[in-house]
């Protein structure tokens, strides 16, 4: 079974749009949305949720007011400014669940409780099984939830004899991205012909290189700035990152998304052909 993860560095370059098109073009795949804090792929894949699970990402400290003697030992050790001296309570948004306060409290007045910090789902779609998640508002441990999504996508794919996993990755280069790409077969970076796009692409490409993963680049909206497109292509050549293709800036794409449609099903114009070519290139590389 092979796996491909679509990332970008910069947000808004077209990862989800492309992942959904790949889903529609694939014959025997399973899908995952690893952008757990702002998941969008479900909007295009239209899943039916079959199973849902709570995600307990970490713990949060709770102070028992009856036992607390307000000695301040917890305040002295907390590195995350999570102890609120007024009233001796915990700020749950700052608490990172390390448990040090609970360990050192001389009155044993602090308990660590499991925090439900999200939900994840196993769904079915027209195109194949789909695993996705929703991190609760303002939570952390998104990397952990990404790992849960990924592992379960693998199990579901194995159970249903799928030969490929296609993952919609998150923006950035932090731990949700790292959790999405480690040990994958191909990282596909979707970028745009802007200085920001190129800057951010370079950082995520460096991350993929750090993990020694085969990387490809797609330049979306490439005709918005042909000079910048050329710069990106030169960068890719210099760093030996093959180009999987380019996609025109075409109003059919935002139109498709507004209508919650997958681009290759909505149109058969030039952008659909370009996406199909990219899919064929990547599919060939995987096999």
């Amino acid at each position: 079974m092979k796996e491909i993860v679509i990332v970008s560095g910069k947000g808004g370059t077209g990862k989800t749009m492309l992942t959904a098109s790949f889903a529609a073009l694939s014959k025997n795949a399973a899908f995952a949305d690893c952008d757990v804090d702002a998941a969008n792929l479900h909007i295009l894949l239209n899943p039916t949720i079959i199973e849902r699970y709570e995600f307990k990402g970490g713990k949060v400290a709770i102070i028992d007011k009856e036992k607390c003697k307000r000695c301040g030992a917890c305040f002295a050790v907390c590195r995350f400014d999570a102890i609120v001296i007024k009233g001796f309570t915990i700020d749950p948004l700052s608490c990172e669940g390390c448990g040090v306060c609970a360990h050192i409290c001389p009155e044993k007045a602090i308990k660590m409780e499991d925090k439900v910090s999200g939900e994840w789902f196993i769904s079915k779609t027209k195109y194949g099984p789909f695993v996705h998640a929703k991190l609760a508002i303002a939570e952390e441990n998104s990397g952990k939830l990404v790992s849960v999504v990924r592992q379960n996508t693998k199990s579901v794919a194995e159970k249903e004899n799928r030969d490929l996993i296609i993952i919609d990755g998150p923006p950035g280069i932090g731990c949700p991205v790292i959790s999405s790409i480690t040990n994958t077969d191909i990282v596909l970076i979707v970028t745009e012909p802007t200085l920001s796009g190129m800057h951010d692409m370079a950082r995520v490409a460096e991350l993929a290189k750090h993990f020694k993963i085969k990387t490809f680049v797609v330049i979306n909206k490439y005709d918005l700035n042909l000079e910048m497109t050329e710069e990106i292509e030169k960068y890719c050549q210099k760093n030996r990152i093959p180009l999987a293709g380019r996609i025109n800036y075409d109003s059919k794409i935002p139109e498709a998304i507004v209508n919650k449609k997958i681009v290759v099903e909505y149109t058969d114009g030039i952008v659909a052909r370009q996406i199909k070519n990219i899919w064929e290139t990547i599919y060939a590389e995987l096999n």
């Binding site: 947000g11 808004g12 995350f80 990172e96 360990h103 303002a138 939570e139 950035g172 731990c175 920001s196």
Partner: protein, 281 residues
């Protein structure tokens, strides 16, 4: 006054709005780029960097002479960042949160604190704008400590703009915490609406007053606007798609540099924000 700019969805125009606001105010202004994984504001503000600081977080180091491999550190660590296997202690600095627990509680006092660089903070200026930029090292797991450190350099005597990362989880929370106001930049598409509702929940949880800017407002549908009206969320501005703006952006040229007449629009946004803040207090 501290104004943060966030979104939920990536690529809606946070940096564009933050940068152009700062340039339109242009006096007594400070700009903080808290998107430390992928900072972009420097591309547009082109600051002259006068100082770079290395930022490190604490990680444990084991003194094998004192260690008796009891495994207490592994029990204490909430993040699986330290493991004791036979007669070896393995430390995984990338996932260590720097809580200091293992060091504090080792019965043999065999762990000491050392540090590991996780990123840099740059200070500079762009015309009249004071500039602070955080940049996390590639491969580093969590940007939150670096974002917290960047925020410590906020100069409350100035009008401060904080460019936040995309998403709705802890890097965004760290960036927007403590703001007087947050601008949520969105686009009128199903993706934009989906992520805007999540970002709105973050603002409400943090009790930060907020308003919305709809970017590329003529490419999409009316659902974002309907949502804002139904939720009583002020729409500060609607910016139609403009290919000239897109090209300007692609070259790293701020809109108000290429089209100075737009400074008035951005100043208007700031006035609306000041009015909201005054009304609330």
């Amino acid at each position: 006054m501290i104004i943060s700019v966030a979104s939920g969805k990536g690529g809606t125009g946070k940096t564009t709005v933050a940068v152009n606001l700062a340039l339109s105010v242009n006096e007594n202004v400070q700009f903080l780029d808290c998107d430390v994984e992928e900072p972009n504001a420097h591309i547009f503000l082109k600051p002259k960097i006068s100082r770079t600081l290395s930022f490190s977080t604490p990680v444990p180091k084991v003194d094998e002479g004192k260690c008796n491999y009891c495994g207490r550190c592994q029990e204490i660590c909430a993040y699986n960042a330290i493991a004791v296997i036979k007669n070896k202690v393995l430390i995984f600095p990338e996932i260590c949160h720097g809580c200091g627990g293992c060091i504090l509680l080792c019965p043999q006092n065999a762990l000491e604190e050392t540090s590991k660089e996780v990123g840099i903070i740059q200070f500079g200026s762009s015309g009249a704008i004071d500039f602070v930029n955080g940049k996390v090292n590639v491969g580093q797991d969590t940007p939150a400590p670096l974002i917290r450190q960047v925020k410590k350099y906020i100069n409350t005597t100035k009008t401060v703009f904080v460019d936040a990362p995309p998403g709705t989880s802890c890097p965004v929370v760290e960036s927007v915490k403590g703001s007087d106001y947050c601008i949520l930049v969105t686009e009128p598409t199903p993706f934009g609406l989906n992520d805007l509702t999540l970002a709105v929940e973050v603002m409400r949880k943090l009790k930060i007053p907020f308003g919305v800017i709809i970017n590329r407002s003529d490419i999409g549908d009316g659902k974002v606007e309907d949502y804002c009206q139904a939720e009583n969320i002020p729409i500060l501005m609607k910016i139609p798609f403009n290919r000239d703006f897109a090209v300007s952006y692609s070259k790293g040229i701020p809109i108000v540099d290429a089209f100075p007449e737009f400074k008035t629009h951005y100043r208007e946004i700031l006035n609306k924000i000041k009015n909201h803040i005054e009304k609330k207090s």
